[in-house]
Symmetry: C2
Subunit: 205 residues, 2 copies
DNA sequence: AATTGTGAATTGATTCACAGCT
DNA sequence: AGCTGTGAATCAATTCACAATT
């Protein structure tokens, strides 16, 4: 078993490196040193190198990394190679704001459906279904990834249904701590909390 | 100098504790143990206690914490006591989605104005001004907190202006690494990255 | 000469274990 | 008896320092 336990933070940073590489490709750059790439990503070069060693050796000593090769490798590592259907559950204030913001629909991701207790909350670009149909939909379309934006009270209940139906990863915008089995991954994004947190750092003149 | 260097993660968690306390208050609970509060917040009780010691001693041995007292203390600690005017810069796709989502306007925060290069992007609830007027506005209204949702290319430039004018903390939704002087705090929220990151954890059946 | 890859050292965060109050 | 507060121990992440490679 090669479970060497890769730190979650490393995986996070790999996504950042990936984005920087994309920009380099656009600019026609062919080779990049750990030094240059790290500074673009806002980390120390040793950290970048250490992060990469979790996945293999991709550089050439004395030279650096081939931008295209590295980008392809990281793509594979991140599993971003294939297509991922995504559902968005909770099409209220925040949910529909997230839909309107198109940023999720890129590079292999597609929000294929919304779900809400009040599905008349219709949305131009994607169909919004009734909550009761979520489980069946997940199973039918083999959805593995879900965005959750329901009120806190409903969150845990909805998550249980999702997980039962086969969802493996959840991007959670509801301000609650979710209980999930350990094979399911949750990324929490708590917008109000982020703002609140900042006010600690605002000090008087 | 009492700079004991409080870990940023602790401050983060304090915001979470605060939210759990709020719920307890609503339910009329008067006292809570570190054990109970920690499990509500999804952390270990020792961690909660350790976090609190950075700010003082608020509990009664053998009993627990008084919910009201603790909540007030944490409020003060987080600087959330007063009123904070907030500006939102970049009223495009994401920016206006964030405005529509009302979640920021609570507990002492108020989004007082938006700024955009194309200010005709008018928005029902708040005035959207021209970008050139941002600096003056920040100075005039003593704005210390800003939400940034401009395209990556523009982000650093806008941030420089903000910081010059006196902004001390930025909630950054632009997918870029921002360069700021060390007295300025940035919280990054990169929605696309969060989703991309999750796909690493989605494994085949 | 430049730059990667990595074991060792360091720094930081979490958890333990228990003394100290109530 | 119950629960907090905390120094000491452990665990995890980062950074250093340098050998290996082109």
């Amino acid at each position: 078993m090669s479970k060497v336990e890769i730190p979650r933070k490393s995986i996070y940073r790999v996504s950042i490196y990936q984005r920087c590489l994309q920009r380099l490709i656009e600019n026609g750059v062919e080779t990049v040193s750990s030094d240059a790439l790290a500074s673009a990503a806002g980390v120390k070069p040793t950290q970048l190198r250490k992060d990469l060693t979790y996945f293999g050796q991709f550089g050439t000593r004395g030279l650096g990394y081939n931008v295209n090769t590295l980008s392809e490798v990281l793509n594979k590592v991140l599993g971003a190679a294939g297509y991922q259907p995504v559902i968005l559950v909770g099409v209220g204030n925040l949910g529909s704001a997230l839909l309107r913001y198109g940023g999720f629909n890129k590079e292999g991701f597609e929000i294929v459906a919304g779900f809400d207790i009040a599905p008349e909350r219709r949305h131009a670009s994607i169909p919004v279904h009734r909550m009761e149909d979520m489980g069946a939909f997940i199973r039918k379309h083999q959805v593995r990834l879900a965005i959750l934006a329901v009120p806190s009270e409903a969150a845990q209940h909805v998550v249980n249904q999702m997980v039962d139906a086969g969802v493996q990863a959840i991007l959670n915008f509801s301000p609650t701590v979710l209980q999930v089995p350990e094979e399911v991954t949750v990324n929490n994004v708590d917008l109000a909390l982020e703002l609140e947190n900042l006010s600690y750092f605002v000090r008087e003149p």
